[in-house]
């Protein structure tokens, strides 16, 4: 089980700020999770249509597409940051 969090326009497009998912064993990395989510339904498909515009964090650390996932991880997806 993974806890997924969404921020900014990704949260608006997915329609909620968090959800829990059980991954198939074939999904082992952040990049694979993004592709799996995009294929899950039309809402996620639209939200993840441009993966190049999406950044990720695993357990509150920035993470690239090759980052491996473990059961219980908190994975966040969001656009590039714009603070300051």
């Amino acid at each position: 089980m993974l806890r997924l969090l969404y921020f900014a326009w990704l949260r608006e497009r997915v329609g909620h700020s968090e959800e829990e998912v059980v991954l198939p064993s074939s999904v082992r990395t952040v990049g694979e999770l993004m592709r799996w989510l995009a294929a899950r339904d039309t809402v996620h498909g639209a939200a993840f249509a441009k993966p190049g515009l999406i950044r990720a964090a695993v357990n509150q650390e920035f993470a690239g597409p090759e980052t491996e996932l473990s059961d219980g991880d908190e994975v966040a997806f969001f656009p590039p940051v714009t603070g300051g």
Partner: protein, 151 residues
């Protein structure tokens, strides 16, 4: 040790400078940057800006950046206050203070802090326009370039 805060409440720059001055005994200069909500973008009037963050990760990321500045310009004392929530034009967004023995490290640390905060801390800005529409601010290539100067 760096002081960092992520909060909805406003900050009072004079009071923050006084606290840093007290903490940074022996410092000869304090660099300061204050980000403020603009009244317009392009030619479009803005009524408000909402700042979203990632509770937990944001505080940690800001602390990592503040401690990196203190390490690079040692001795250096840093104070960062970043606001979240709904802000209106003219309101403060962020305060960056860096105290050091001389002006060069104080100003350099201040520049480093704001450049990295813009590109390495999870905050997202949404602009609310006078006509009722809204838009998420897009990350700017110039900001990434400014942050890259510091390695």
């Amino acid at each position: 040790m760096a002081y960092v805060a992520v909060q909805e409440a406003d900050f009072e720059p004079g009071a923050e400078i006084a606290r840093l001055t007290e903490q940074a005994g022996g410092a000869g200069g304090i660099g300061c940057f204050i980000g403020v909500v603009r009244g317009e973008v392009g030619n479009r009037a803005i009524t408000a800006m909402t700042l979203e963050h990632y509770p937990g990760m944001t505080e940690r990321a800001v602390r990592v950046i503040a401690e990196e500045a203190e390490r690079r310009w040692d001795p250096c004392w840093v104070r960062v206050v970043h606001r979240v929530g709904r802000l209106t034009p003219g309101e403060h967004i962020v305060l960056v203070l860096a105290a050091a023995p001389h002006r060069e490290p104080a100003l350099a640390a201040t520049g480093f802090l704001i450049d990295w905060l813009k590109t390495k801390a999870p905050f997202w800005k949404k602009e609310h326009f006078a006509d009722g529409s809204t838009a998420w601010v897009e990350a700017r290539a110039e900001d990434a370039k400014a942050a890259a100067r510091w390695g």
